[in-house]
């Protein structure tokens, strides 16, 4: 019986060692967070949704504007301020914009408006500034002002950020 007993003990030891290997681990959030402050609320009847869109580089064309790298969850349609988080790959991002979509209009080139973007001065439509996401870390305090009474069309956005 010595041989089987030894084998059993060895098998149990292997099983215990394997079972004690770490499984799922806490994963630090990697991305950007902040708050969107509404200086005017969107019109509830015509609003389909409000989200934040993230771009690596400043968009140059209408096609670039549809090439965002990440979208936030839908933000509430009422202010005064709503927190947000967006998971992102490490790197520098040049443009973070509050996007409003018109209800019932599925032509994205005409349905989308910009209600504000991340700026150095804190205004809704001042020149955009970039921010950096480090590996395994959250870039906090990227706060944005949104002005839904004075939203810009895609063409106006391109003119404003050039």
């Amino acid at each position: 019986m010595r041989k089987p007993t030894f084998l059993i003990l060895a098998a149990l030891a292997v099983a215990l060692a394997a079972a004690c290997e770490d499984g799922l681990q806490p994963v630090p959030f990697q991305g950007v967070s902040g708050a969107v402050t509404y200086i005017s609320d969107p019109d509830p009847d015509s609003t389909d949704w409000v989200r934040l869109a993230v771009y690596r580089e400043l968009p140059q064309t209408e096609v670039d504007l549809l090439g965002f790298v990440a979208f936030s969850d839908t933000l509430p349609a009422e202010g005064p301020a709503n927190p947000y988080v967006i998971g992102l790959e490490p790197g520098t991002y040049e443009f973070l914009v509050v996007v409003w979509k018109e209800r019932g209009n599925e032509n994205l080139l005409t349905a989308l408006r910009a209600a504000g973007w991340y700026t150095a001065g804190g205004g809704a439509f001042e020149p955009p500034v970039s921010y950096t996401v480090e590996p395994d870390s959250e870039t906090v305090g990227i706060n944005v002002i949104a002005d839904f009474d004075n939203m810009l069309t895609i063409g106006e956005v391109l003119d404003s950020i050039q």
């Binding site: 079972a19 499984g23 990697q30 988080v85 998971g87 959250e138």
Partner: protein, 739 residues
């Protein structure tokens, strides 16, 4: 065009063979065989042993005192076969005299490793386990109870080649994960279907644990006997016969969850626990037998919104005559629980630690989500033995299921009524030929917020023959035809009918070896939930697909079972599934949410290998079992693996018996899924292996048992479906009392 003459030729050949078989002579005089089955070492009665007169349909099970009685046995020398899992099989000659009682005492030798046991779900009648042409795992009551399960699902999870993915059971990777809509495994309780009528899901909370005698897991497409839902296999829970002497069983179970594996995941400062109590009473009142049962269980849950409150009552009445067995059963079960569809991602709940996910919390907007369900089941079954060669079985069943989930901003639910019926005819046409013919029907009426009111009508005819060609070769062949009508639809619908053939053989070159082979077709008609669900809840947008086709499979296996020595037995099987129109949840994660539509995958396959070894040392005091399953799956359109299937599954279990003391451990490994469908980013939704080590200790004093278990002893964190952490370490104490 050639099939009809061939069928006629076979029928004529069988008729001639039956006619010239001397054992089929009718109107013989008969006697009774009664007796007792006891264990060899202790002389203690062996309950639940299958006792059969070979070459007839006459069979029974021993009661709690090991006694049995077989009436109307034809006079003459008869061969009596006795089998029970955990004991070596036994056959003996009995001289039956007309009008007399032949009293026998059968001694069974305990054998942890033996080719024995019976199974009811392979052929719809009691069959020696070693004569099954497909792989079957059977867990007897001691194996079920030693894991201190909350439901029978907790015991089934330890069977070789079985893995639970979320709440859905996978046998050899056949099921994957269907988001709670449609099961490829059929659940039977005493042979009566128990899948939910609307979704096809398995209702584990309707199963009485205190009365379980054994659990059978058939690991093969079984549509040739059971029709839809048996595409991936069958789980049959067999309950015990009420004993001759009054018996009361009490089962008390309680425990608590440990802290999560990482302090960053702690979400509650309180100790989270669970408790349950079950009481059952069985007795005989003249010809009447009864089981009365009630139970209640509460659970705080290890995760936010994981709380549960469960209650059930059941009554089973039996009436046995000389040749008749009548069973009436009725039960009601209620469950109320919090809903935690997905764990909390960063931004969805307060998290000062800034983690990608908090696996034990749910998003703030889901914290009040709750579900309530009520389930009632009733059935009447009647079995009559018309002679030593002919028996019939009839069943009428009715089940009702009503559930409601409150998602805060929306309330959804469904009420389902299922009428079912079955007629079965067993004819031992000759010593070497048993024919089974039957018909099954079900009418399902579903009324759901998610998809309105629909009705499904299922009708079927089936037939099966078991041919004992020689002492060393048994052939089985069967065919079932199914028809499903949706909302009174017409038979001309292209997919309303299905034919499912199956053939199998068992070769017994010697007493220690069994070779088996089987090939059969399986199918599953889409559930009402898969066809018609249209909803947007909890971030999921489900789009209906009324054009969904049923899924079909061709499944085969080749296996060998061998008792190598008195302390080692192994079972090795190679198997395959070729799927056509497999129903999968097409999932698109978009800015709008998670869109799901059920669709047919043109072709897919699973190739696999299963190896099981059982060891017994120190005169059965130390028992070990190990199993390994390899799965190679492919979606043929993309050449990708099928989602929610592990490539490797491994189980190891050991028990040491020292007098009344039992010490044991179970270890289960499943490799991480190579493919999932919804959240595929490995950074935010990492996939890890399943590695679960459970430890157990039990002590028996007479008929009373106290148990202590530590489940997930290594406190290993893992998921089977995305964003749902499986249970963390927990400590349980249970008392099983019998008076």
């Amino acid at each position: 065009m050639n099939r009809l003459p061939l069928a006629l030729a076979i029928a004529i050949a069988i008729a001639i063979a039956v006619a010239i078989d001397p054992s089929s002579a009718a109107a013989q005089e008969s006697g009774t065989v009664s007796g007792r089955v006891v264990g060899a070492a202790t002389g203690a009665p062996v309950p639940a042993a299958a006792v059969r007169i070979l070459g007839t349909v006459i069979s029974t099970f021993t009661d709690d005192s090991g006694r049995f009685e077989l009436r109307d046995v034809p006079a003459g020398r008869r061969r009596l076969a006795v089998e029970r899992i955990g004991y070596g099989p036994r056959q003996l000659e009995v001289e039956v005299r007309a009008g007399a009682v032949a009293e026998v005492e059968v001694t069974l030798r305990p054998r942890a490793v033996a080719l024995s046991g019976v199974v009811a779900s392979v052929t719809k009648r009691e069959l020696g386990l070693s004569n099954a042409p497909v792989s079957v795992s059977v867990m007897d009551v001691s194996e079920v109870m030693q894991r201190v399960p909350a439901t029978a699902a907790d015991a089934v999870a330890y069977a070789p080649s079985v893995q639970f993915v979320g709440e859905q059971v996978n046998i050899r990777g056949s099921s994957g994960y269907g988001r709670g809509t449609g099961s490829r495994v059929l659940l039977l309780v005493d042979g009566v279907p128990a899948n939910a009528g609307d979704s096809g899901n398995l209702n584990w909370d309707v199963i009485p644990l205190t009365e379980v005698e054994r659990v059978e897991v058939v690991k093969s497409a079984s549509s040739a006997l059971y029709g839809t839902s048996a595409l991936g296999g069958v789980i049959n829970v067999v309950t015990a016969k009420p004993p001759a002497e009054p018996i009361t069983r009490v089962r008390l179970r309680g425990g608590f969850y440990d802290d999560p594996p990482h302090s960053e995941w702690i979400w509650s400062s309180q100790t989270l626990g669970y408790a349950s109590a079950e009481l059952s009473h069985g007795r005989q009142l003249g010809p009447l037998t009864l089981w009365l049962r009630g139970g209640r269980g509460i659970d705080d849950g290890y995760q936010q919104n994981g709380d549960l409150d469960r209650a059930n009552v059941a009554l089973r009445l039996g009436l046995s005559g000389a040749a008749d067995d009548l069973v009436l059963f009725g039960s009601w079960a209620q469950e109320k629980h919090g809903e935690s569809l997905l764990w909390c991602m960063r931004g969805q709940c307060p998290d000062p630690r800034r983690l990608e996910f908090q696996p034990l919390r749910v998003p703030v907007d889901a914290q009040d989500d709750r579900t309530r369900s009520d389930k009632a089941r009733s059935y009447v079954t009647h079995q009559r033995r018309w002679s030593d060669r002919v028996s019939t079985f009839e069943r009428l069943s009715l089940s009702w299921n009503d559930w409601e989930t409150d998602f805060g901003d929306s309330l959804i639910g469904a009420e389902t009524l299922v009428w079912g019926g079955e007629l079965k005819f067993d004819w031992q046409a000759a010593n070497w030929l048993l024919l089974t013919l039957g018909s099954e029907g079900a009418y399902t009426d579903v009324n759901a917020d998610l998809f309105g009111q629909h009705d499904l009508t299922d009708l079927s005819l089936y037939g099966q023959g078991e041919l004992g060609v020689t002492r060393w070769l048994t052939l089985t062949a069967g065919l079932r035809g199914d028809v499903r009508l949706i909302d009174g639809g017409s038979l001309s619908d292209p997919w309303s009918s299905e034919l499912s053939p199956r053939a199998g053989l068992v070769l017994a070159p010697d007493a220690r070896t069994r070779l088996r082979a089987s090939l059969g077709k399986g199918f599953r008609a889409p559930s009402a939930a898969e066809l018609f669900t249209a909803t947007e809840v909890g971030g999921f947008l489900v789009i209906p697909n009324p054009d969904l086709e049923p899924e079909r499979s061709l499944a085969g296996e080749l296996g060998i079972q061998r008792l190598v020595t008195s302390w080692l037995a192994f079972d090795v099987a190679g198997f395959f599934y070729e799927f056509e129109d497999l129903i999968v949840a097409d999932t698109v994660v978009s800015a709008e949410g998670i869109e799901i539509q059920f669709d047919n995958l043109p072709e897919a396959r699973i190739l696999g290998l299963e190896a099981i070894a059982r060891f017994s040392f120190i005169r059965d005091r130390l028992q070990l079992q190990g199993s390994y399953t390899y799965l190679d799956t492919e979606d043929k359109a993309t050449s990708e693996p099928l989602p929610y299937r592990p490539r490797h599954l491994l189980t190891a279990a050991g028990s040491l018996y020292l007098g009344g003391l039992e010490i044991g451990a179970d270890y289960r490994i499943a490799s991480a899924f190579e493919r999932v469908q919804v959240f595929t980013d490995e950074r935010t939704d990492p996939r890890v292996d399943m590695r679960v080590l459970d430890a157990r200790l039990a002590y028996r004093i007479g008929r009373q048992t106290i148990r202590f278990t530590v489940d997930n002893a290594a406190n290993y964190g893992y998921t089977t479906i995305e964003r749902n952490l499986e249970p963390i370490r927990r400590y349980t104490v249970a008392l099983e009392l019998e008076f």
